[in-house]
Point group: C2
Chain length 130, copies 2
DNA sequence: GTTGACTCTGACGTCAACGTGAGGCTTTAG
DNA sequence: CTAAAGCCTCACGTTGACGTCAGAGTCAAC
């Protein structure tokens, strides 16, 4: 297989994460790229996927510590690793429920905003254009 | 009409917001309670609803500044106030779309976690893929 | 071999929504 | 009246995920 490696800038472009963010993820143990002789980080295609997972979970309110525990179980392009996951499942269930709750809150907020928007759209001497 | 006023502690208990948070909301112009001669804040039943709206919108990722603009239009138990809302509607639309996007992200995260949870709960590390 | 884009390692700055005392009034119970 | 809650106003501390320099090394091209 081709060892097509990416440098940090390219990975950044392909994931939307800033170089600083990528270094931060590494600092938190979420990524462990190889290094070139000169010290440059070498990322793989796999890391592209991983970073997207990281961002998804961050957006869902998980902290880097929690993500660090989840990632080894999520990698599975070809399931292989079997970390300690009994305790993990309970933790994940908690997170899942929290996220479900968050979605509910967001939908409430949506309802609130929708109400306001439609009310004011309908009764304003509309100047409805951008 | 009953002038049933609440002090900060009571409002705190009824909304889940800490007293510090309630003072912060006031500082940000989201609440403007009257004061007793002694300086104590006097909240009304209306404020209970308002605080819940605030928390909902905060949970949805709106900042206090944005909320300050929305609240006057949201109070309406009996529609009365008419602030400057033409520009507001566009802003709200933006926020609404952002929230919709957030919900999508959360659902993605949910999918990820569900996958992991069910896979490990079934305890048969079968070969799954993403 | 030199430019210029890219990357490296620190290390301090940021921002929002509060937390957390410090020190001192106000109100309520008895 | 006194004591205990409860509340007041500063004002600095916290947390997480980065932003933003500074100073220096690396790499591909010309």
């Amino acid at each position: 297989m081709a060892g097509v490696t990416l440098r940090i800038g390219e990975l950044s472009r392909r994931t939307g994460a800033s170089p600083r963010a990528l270094r931060y993820y590494e600092e938190q143990g979420l990524l462990t790229p190889d290094r070139r002789p000169g010290g440059y980080r070498e990322y793989t295609e796999r890391d592209v996927v991983t970073v997207r997972h990281i961002r998804t979970l961050l957006a869902a309110g998980l902290g880097t510590v929690a993500i660090a525990e989840v990632l080894p179980c999520a990698i599975t392009e070809e399931g292989e690793l079997l970390p300690a996951c009994p305790e993990l499942v309970t933790g994940l269930t908690v997170e899942r429920d929290r996220i479900t709750g968050s979605i509910g809150e967001l939908q409430q907020a949506l309802g609130l905003l929708e109400t306001i928007i439609t009310r004011w759209s309908e009764q304003a001497p509309a100047k409805a254009s951008l």
